[in-house]
């Protein structure tokens, strides 16, 4: 397997696994764990196997072309820094999956959890491995989506739902900003592929759009990585199951923003704007997060704010803009993931074993779970930055960096103080976490007597803590090479010399570090006792970011509701009116700007017969419009007349196929509407209160009339202007030239339908089939209105007449009346079928084809229904319209797919002429088979619709329930 394929597979596997896990039985906890774990381990091994190439500075690319012309391809790209992050995602994923196996309760639908988790893992891999900005933004959104689903996993819990929604809204809004920023960035760089962007530093810095793009990208990253003032969603996301908090909300997803900052650091940083936008935000977040963490009473809340603070630290480092700071940022990202995830897992175990996460209620756990306590202590010490642990190393680098001068402004002077204070706070909350939970005697007995968790639940923590120790003691031998390849990838020529040793001698950073440790300890001794009484964090607690957010959301909903009330309507007429007015305006606009002129073609004269035809046709159309309200039957006949005029025009204007089809369709449509007339209410003339039409009605009708006249006039003007212009070159020439040569038919229109544009036709018959089945199912439960249930008056009169005469039976009158037509219609049946088949067979060469033939065929069946009545026909004739539709669809699709067998694209036609005895030369193109499919679908659909409607007349109708008072209609 080539590295390119491997890369594609590593990203695809989690999604496939997610899909598979979704179908596991609800209780299949172990199977789901095995599946998920296996995928994570396979991915990690796969990524690991690519390390040799990456360590040599190679960049592995896997490109699957999509829109090469727009520089948009499915690109995966493995470089030093993305290798590090991908490994982080997969290894942490494997550990969290193992942990979740024991954490999740038997009552939870665990396969669903793993399905979400795997999909998240896949999208996170997508973010770090994508080699294309748009693709990154896509996977970025997908991570937000699965974070939403995972936070809301316990969806019966209100706070889980709220937290999930808040996270989605904040990170989703950020995602949109990121996308916009990326689009701008791509425009500046001249391409969206990462290699193009990373090579265009100068173009990006000199572009006038740089500030805007930077701002948008930073908003995206800051929302995702929970930077002030967007940090508030992260603590609320703690309603998620703890494995999710450990994985998404400390180790991986919240690092996505940091990852983008690192990834684009070479091209975005290095300006004053970058420094002043990023560094202060990071610094404020670092301080606020640490401050608020001190006052948390919830274990996970403390860890969440601590995460915010550490993310702030990383962002601050990136903001400083110096290469050494970037090294420290990458290093701390890894370190933070290890110690914070293990602390979350420990918190989950404590919650699991004692039944509470409230620091005030916990205590003395050292006696019950010494191993877990030891592990948590080591991890917390790493968080506090105690020497010989990995947190210490990156913090040392951080402190060294803040001591440097970066901008020559006040910030340089403030940063060392701020960093030391924040570090002291970190020490303080770390000590509080350990001391309160494990040592102080609990104020009241614990809800449950805790004991050590199952050893395998502890294993992930042990591994992570071991990593903290190993990195902390032997940094150069453990993390060294991986860090080096990531640094070289990000910084290139700027890569600084740095030392990963534990001991750098007595220097200023060490002094600051020791000050922070001592300060934190002293602060805890002085104030630690009082912290349990804290309700909210002083000063910062007043900001109430969450409440602001909710107020904004509520205001948004209110504005939307107001707009809806202002401009929305449930009434059809105003909607159509607005639509028409907009359509008119859109059509008129070009003419207003560019003027209207008639074309130059010579005047072809007016044929008096044609003019007469439309004198009649037009009058019929107007009359139909006039009578449609009160005289439906008359309107139907008049519309039919207008249709006939259209039909004759088609013949006149060299469109025999259209004329044929129009004529046949006209017949079925008329029958269809006639069948429908039976169920419409009797229309009473409008009676206005004062015998005069109210003014509003007059105004409304006047307005509609004006719209109608303008629309008609406009269409007439436009079509006249087009018709009098000379023909321009079009694709028609191609079709005309190749219809016979390539398609084997002389009827160009038919060849276009079944060959050149056969895919359209396939879509069209699909629509037809869908409509027919929809109509059929709508009518199965049809309930006529109460006033339409009675037998129609005509039938009653006839039945009365029959009943009064002894020698007659009910129904005889109808039979007698249709005696002669009935005979003719029965005799016509074979004739019409032959005619239909004739139309079908000759369609490729002469006017006809599947559509016309299909409708002709259904007219034949229809006539039988009219002649003999529904019951009698169905006793003798088996019409299975649904089968016709199905067989037709299959025939058309398979004929098209048959081309694949011969290595041609879908719907390629094969043709030749066959010499059939008696009949003569018959065109035997595969297009004929396709047309046969069209024919069958048209027959099936038409007959299905008409029969379904006709059946209503012989059913014993039941009235619909009286329309219920529509409660709640005014809502929304």
């Amino acid at each position: 397997m080539t590295p390119q394929h491997l890369l594609l597979l590593i990203v695809a596997l989690p999604f496939l696994g997610s899909f598979a896990a979704a179908f596991l039985p609800t209780r299949a906890r172990t199977q789901a764990t095995l599946l998920a774990g296996l995928i994570a381990v396979v991915g990690a091994v796969g990524i690991g196997s690519l390390y040799p190439a990456v360590s040599q500075g190679q960049i592995l690319l896997s490109v699957t072309p999509w829109l090469p012309s727009l520089d948009l391809n499915l690109t995966f790209r493995l470089s030093g820094v993305s290798w590090l992050f991908a490994m982080l995602v997969l290894v942490m994923g494997a550990l969290v999956i193992l942990y979740a196996r024991y954490y999740m309760s038997d009552e939870d639908p665990v396969p669903r959890f793993f399905s979400f988790l795997l999909a998240f893992m896949g999208s996170m891999l997508g973010v770090v491995l994508s080699g294309n900005l748009i693709q990154i933004a896509f996977f970025w959104e997908v991570t937000s989506l699965f974070s939403f689903l995972l936070i809301g996993y316990w969806h019966h819990n209100q706070s889980a739902r709220d937290g999930a929604r808040m996270a989605l809204m904040v990170t989703g809004a950020g995602g949109i900003c990121l996308m916009l920023g990326f689009i701008l960035l791509g425009q500046m760089a001249g391409g969206f592929s990462l290699d193009t962007v990373l090579a265009s530093k100068d173009a990006i810095h000199s572009s006038p759009y740089y500030p805007l793009a930077l701002a948008l990208i930073l908003i995206g990253c800051f929302t995702k990585s929970a930077q002030f003032p967007f940090h508030f969603w992260l603590p609320h996301a703690m309603a998620a199951p703890t494995p999710v908090s450990a994985y998404l909300h400390s180790a991986t997803m919240v690092k996505a923003g940091v990852f983008i900052l690192i990834l684009l650091w070479p091209v975005l940083s290095g300006t004053d704007l970058w420094y002043f936008a990023v560094a202060p935000i990071g610094a404020i977040t670092l301080l606020i997060g640490a401050w608020v963490a001190i006052f948390q009473q919830d274990l996970k809340g403390l860890l969440a704010y601590s995460t915010i603070s550490h993310l702030g630290l990383i962002v601050l480092l990136l903001g400083l803009g110096s290469p050494l700071a970037a090294v420290a940022a990458i290093f701390h990202t890894v370190n933070h993931a290890t110690f914070k995830a293990s602390l979350f897992m420990a918190a989950g175990i404590i919650d699991h074993e004692t039944g509470t996460r409230d620091i005030r209620k916990l205590g003395g756990l050292w006696n019950y779970m010494p191993i877990t306590a030891t592990l948590a202590m080591v991890a917390a010490a790493a968080m506090a930055g105690v020497p010989l642990l990995n947190g210490f190393l990156s913090k040392e680098m951080f402190l060294a960096e803040v001591l440097e001068d970066h901008s020559g402004t006040l910030i340089d002077a403030v940063l060392p103080w701020l960093a030391t204070i924040a570090s002291a706070f970190a020490v303080l909350y770390s000590i509080r976490f350990i001391h309160q939970v494990f040592f102080v005697a609990p104020p009241e007995p614990l809800p449950r007597t805790p004991h050590e968790p199952p050893p395998w639940m502890r294993r992930p923590i042990e591994i992570l803590v071991l990593a903290c120790l190993l990195i902390g003691i032997f940094p150069a031998a453990t993390i060294g090479p991986f860090l080096a390849s990531a640094v070289r990838d990000t910084l290139g020529d700027q890569a600084p010399a740095y030392s990963l040793a534990v001991w750098h001698g007595f220097n200023r950073p060490l002094f600051l570090s020791l000050t922070a440790l001592a300060g934190g300890l002293i602060l805890y001794i002085l104030f630690g006792g009082r912290l349990n009484a804290a309700k909210a964090s002083p000063v910062v607690g007043r900001l109430k970011a969450r409440r602001t957010f909710e107020a904004v959301v509520e205001r948004g909903i209110a504005i939307a509701g107001w707009l809806h009330a202002l401009a929305g309507t449930r009434r059809l007429q105003p909607q159509l009116r607005v639509l028409m007015i907009f359509a008119l305006a859109a059509a008129a606009l070009p003419f207003l700007f560019l003027g209207y002129s008639v074309g130059s073609e010579r005047w072809t004269g007016v044929d008096p017969v044609f003019a007469l035809l439309w004198l009649i046709g037009g009058s019929c159309a107007l009359a139909a419009a006039w009578t449609a309200k009160f005289h439906r039957l008359a309107a139907l006949i008049l519309v039919g007349a207008a249709g006939l005029a259209t039909c004759i025009s088609f013949v006149w204007l060299s469109a025999p196929d259209l004329a044929l089809t129009q004529l046949l369709v006209e017949i079925v449509t008329t029958v269809l509407l006639l069948l429908g007339l039976r169920w419409l209410p009797k229309r009473q003339p409008d009676i206005w209160p004062e015998t005069r039409m109210p003014v509003q009605v007059l105004a409304r009708r006047g307005g509609d009339l004006a719209i109608a006249i303008i629309a008609g006039l406009g269409m007439a003007l436009i079509s006249y202007a087009v018709m009098t212009r000379p023909v321009t070159d079009s694709i028609a020439d191609f079709f005309t030239r190749n219809a016979y040569a390539e398609g084997g038919g002389t009827n160009i229109v038919n060849v276009i339908l079944v060959d050149f544009r056969a895919f359209d036709t396939l879509g069209e018959i699909t629509v037809l089939a869908i409509v027919a089945i929809t109509v059929f199912s709508l009518l199965r439960r049809f309930r006529p209105a109460s006033d339409s249930i009675e037998t129609p008056e005509q039938q009653r009169v006839q039945a009365d007449f029959d009943r009064r005469h002894a020698d007659r039976e009910v129904g005889d009158t109808v039979t007698d009346a249709l005696m002669v037509p009935r005979l003719i219609m029965q005799w016509m049946f074979p004739v019409i079928i032959t005619f239909a088949l004739y139309l079908l067979l000759r369609g490729h060469d002469l006017p006809g084809g599947g559509f016309a033939a299909g409708i002709a065929m259904s007219i034949g069946i229809l006539l039988q229904y009219m002649a003999m009545g529904t019951r009698e026909v169905e006793d003798r004739l088996m019409v299975l319209p649904i089968n016709w539709i199905g067989i037709g669809m299959l025939a058309a699709a398979l004929t098209g797919a048959g081309a694949w067998l011969f290595g041609y694209p879908l719907l390629t036609t094969f043709f030749r002429y066959l010499d059939v005895p008696l009949i003569g030369e018959v065109p035997a193109a595969s297009a004929l088979l396709f047309d046969l499919g069209v024919f069958a679908v048209v027959v099936g659909s038409t007959v299905l619709v008409l029969i379904a409607l006709a059946h209503q007349s012989i059913r014993t109708p039941r009235a619909a329930r009286p329309a219920e008072p529509k409660a709640g209609e005014e809502q929304g």
Binding site: A628, K629, V639, I707, A711, G712, M715, V938
Partner: protein
């Protein structure tokens, strides 16, 4: 010829649009039918008007595209005719179902206030 067809298209459109804006479902269906005639003629007219030039090739004679009317609008209209039949059928059934459920044939499913 062009002027007649243009007027025909205009009249069909006008009557169709007027009916489309009416409150009764049957009026809307009739309006849609008229509008579809107008649109079909309009599309056909985009290929310009030709008499006695149907797009059917005679075998054995060299093909001269100039001798035939543009077949593309015709192919489009042919599918449009069938689709408009399908939509009319669907509209009719929705109309009937709505009438059954609401006891009125008003397009809004309830009589207007006035």
């Amino acid at each position: 010829m062009e002027i007649v067809l243009a007027l025909a298209i205009g009249i069909l459109t006008g009557s169709g649009v007027w009916l489309l804006l009416r409150p009764r479902t049957f009026q809307v269906i009739i309006g849609l039918a008229l509008l579809s005639y107008a649109v079909n003629l309009f599309i056909l007219s985009m290929g310009r008007l030709r008499v006695d030039a149907p797009p059917i090739i005679r075998k054995g004679v060299p093909v001269d595209p100039a001798a035939f009317v543009d077949p593309v609008p015709q192919a489009l209209v042919l599918t449009a005719i069938v689709i408009s039949f399908a939509t009319t059928a669907l509209m009719l059934v929705v109309l009937l179902a709505s009438r059954g459920l609401t006891n009125t044939d008003h397009v809004d499913g309830e009589e207007s206030q006035q």
